[in-house]
């Protein structure tokens, strides 16, 4: 039985639909990210779990208890805001202890828990400081400790890192994940950053325009995007329209070149158009005499991206990216060269719609 369950959720603001057909089951201790562009309904969904928004339709349940109509202060759900939202008039220790003070726990119990939380976020010395005396990263760690201090059933994080510098973002996300693992707490993490979602999550819910596009592990989302939206939103991807040549054997045609796919083309007729996607790293130069999926191309551009080199090639009139690992002994082609590229049948993904 799932620990957190969102059933058939729909949320309207007036006539505008912010979220619809949202169904999700999250296991205890799981780390799930909501990933999607700004305005796709991530925050609204999160706020329905916290109780700041009431779903127009649908139910929210935690540990088999329906909390759909409970007030936010009657739920046991911790929230971390993008803007930290620390109380400026309280010290770090008072901020972390606030929820416990509201719950009328004893002074000694509060102190013990606050010290424990300060140790967890490695800010043992900062208890007496005020939020304004801390860096952004430290403030967000305090906000995390404050949310965790009340031992919430579910931890919600709404783009907690987007106000921070790139370097701190990366280290803090690892820290958040480590803390979540250590405590075994169920977490929902909202982000618009695909790299962040891929690196931190057990599962990702990719959202677009208020609905779920795909739910899956980072591995599944990256390697097997099911829709054109997911394909384009997560990672760099070459997408193009192909024509079905032989649906039984998975033969397609793009710009005069033949490509074979390992995916089923059930129900597709010869001559049908389908959208296919190929990750740049799945392409390579066709050195040996391979038969299938070898296509002629022309080198258009070469870009160094540090650990990888991104080569743009044209196949017919279409342009595609191809990534290869950088190494000092790499023999790079020259712009304008004619060459041949290849990819495995499994690399050719056929997208829904």
């Amino acid at each position: 039985m799932a620990f957190l369950e969102l059933t058939n959720i729909r949320k309207q603001f007036g006539q505008a639909v912010a979220v619809e057909d949202f169904n999700l089951k999250v296991d205890r201790g799981e780390f799930v990210s909501f990933l999607g562009p700004s305005g796709c309904g991530k925050t609204t969904t999160l706020r329905m779990i916290a109780g700041f928004e009431i779903p127009t339709v649908g139910r929210v349940a935690v540990d088999n208890v329906d909390i759909t109509d409970k007030a936010p202060n009657q739920r046991n759900v911790g929230m971390v805001f993008q803007s930290y939202a620390l109380f400026p008039n309280m010290t770090v220790a008072q901020n972390i202890g606030f929820g416990l003070r509201i719950r009328r726990e004893s002074e000694s119990a509060i102190k013990e828990r606050v010290d424990e939380m300060l140790a967890l976020i490695h800010l043992e010395q900062k208890g007496p400081s005020y939020p304004s005396q801390l860096s952004g990263g430290q403030q967000q760690r305090v906000a995390l400790a404050r949310a965790l201090a009340i031992r919430p059933q579910v931890l919600l994080l709404d783009e907690p890192l987007s106000a921070l510098d790139a370097k701190i973002r990366v280290s803090l996300r690892a820290e958040i994940r480590a803390i979540q693992r250590k405590l075994g707490i169920t977490a929902i993490y909202v982000t618009h950053d695909q790299e962040e979602a891929l690196s931190i999550s057990d599962r990702i819910v990719v959202m677009s325009q208020g609905h779920m596009e795909q739910v899956g592990t980072p591995f599944e989302i990256y390697n097997f995007p099911q829709t054109a939206f997911v394909a384009s939103f997560v990672g760099t991807l070459n997408t193009t329209t192909a024509e079905v040549v032989d649906s039984a054997r998975g033969v397609l045609q793009i710009d005069g070149a033949r490509l074979e796919t390992a995916e089923k083309l059930d129900g597709r007729q010869k001559g049908d158009k389908v959208t296919i996607a190929i990750r740049p790293e799945r392409f390579s130069f066709a050195s040996e005499q391979k038969k299938a999926n070898v296509v002629d191309c022309r080198i258009e551009n070469i870009t160094f991206l540090g650990s990888i080199v991104r080569i743009q090639v044209s196949i017919g009139s279409g342009k595609y990216y191809m990534d290869t690992f950088n190494n000092p002994f790499l023999e790079l082609p020259k712009i304008g060269d004619k060459d041949q590229v290849t990819c495995s049948r499994e690399a050719v993904l056929v997208l829904k719609s």
Partner: protein
């Protein structure tokens, strides 16, 4: 060697540019200094010296001693009382109004309208204000008559009197609460919605949010604006003067001594004003002390 000389030259010229930059920075402050000297220090110092001089210009403590006569002490008491009452009353009313408009989810135009009204009303004081109130709530005022005719209620029989302490306080309130609205609006804007949500999320009720978060955060502004309202009422002159001749606030006494025909003694007037400065200084001191004690997070 040549290198050293060049460095020396560079150091000199950079020193010179530093001096110039400092001069330029100071030049910007000059208008402010001139203003402060001309309109603050100079009048204040002449006022203070005047308090310690008799009419022929010799040093005396008589003016200060005269401040402790019962009628003058009563005037100070009255001024302080009316200032406290209208600062707190106008403060509470103005705060609630500002809160309703800013955080209460009212349409945007209500706020614009209230701010515009407050801008005007907070400056609507003196003789016109007094006459407006006399015309509305005086013995034969418009509202007084309306109550009598339509409802059969004689508000003066019920104990209302525009010309006593509470009548004057009511009149002062008319310029006090709009000032509060104007000062508190930005402070309330600064009250972030996430703080309420964070506190709710941690289990706090609305009361607990106000008690532990919102009021402590607003406290410095509340304290500051109350002291400003206090000063605003304390220094008001023409409203009291035009409304009633039986309630002698300090400013009315000063007016009598400086421009009156009967009681002309400008030096006593200076001493009265000096006393007001002392009272304002004490209240600002009190304010600063309270602020330091209660809002350590601001430092």
């Amino acid at each position: 060697m040549a290198q050293a000389t060049q460095n020396q030259i560079r150091a000199n010229s950079s020193q010179r540019s530093l001096v110039i930059r400092n001069l330029v920075a100071w030049a910007g402050v000059v208008p402010f200094l001139v203003f402060v000297i001309l309109f603050l220090f100079w009048p204040a110092s002449s006022l203070i010296t005047g308090s310690f001089q008799n009419q022929s210009g010799a040093f005396t403590l008589q003016n200060i001693i005269d401040l402790f006569t019962p009628s003058i002490m009563n005037a100070y008491m009255l001024s302080i009382q009316i200032s406290i009452v209208t600062a707190i009353g106008g403060g509470i009313f103005g705060f609630m109004l500002a809160y309703a408009v800013i955080q209460g989810g009212l349409p945007r135009w209500v706020r614009t309208a209230l701010t515009t009204f407050s801008g005007v009303a907070s400056n609507f004081a003196g003789v016109p204000l007094a006459f407006a109130f006399i015309a509305t709530l005086g013995h034969t005022g418009f509202l007084t008559a309306l109550f009598a005719d339509k409802l059969g209620i004689d508000i003066y029989n019920l104990g209302f009197n525009l010309y006593n302490f509470w009548g004057l306080a009511l009149t002062y309130m008319y310029f006090q609460f709009p000032l509060m609205v104007l000062i508190m609006a930005p402070a309330l804007d600064g009250l972030r919605e996430e703080w309420r949500e964070a506190s709710e999320n941690l289990g706090a009720s609305s009361y607990q949010y106000w008690r532990y978060v919102a009021l402590p955060i607003l406290w410095p502004s509340l304290l500051g604006s109350t002291i400003l309202l206090f000063g605003n009422a304390f220094g008001a002159y023409a409203t009291a003067y035009a409304l009633t001749r039986t309630l002698n606030v300090v400013t009315v006494l000063i007016g009598d001594q400086i421009s009156g025909n009967v009681l002309f003694n400008p030096n006593l007037g200076y001493a009265l004003a000096f006393g007001m400065i002392v009272i304002m200084a004490v209240s600002i001191g009190l304010y600063t002390w309270l602020q330091r004690r209660t809002a350590r997070w601001l430092q």
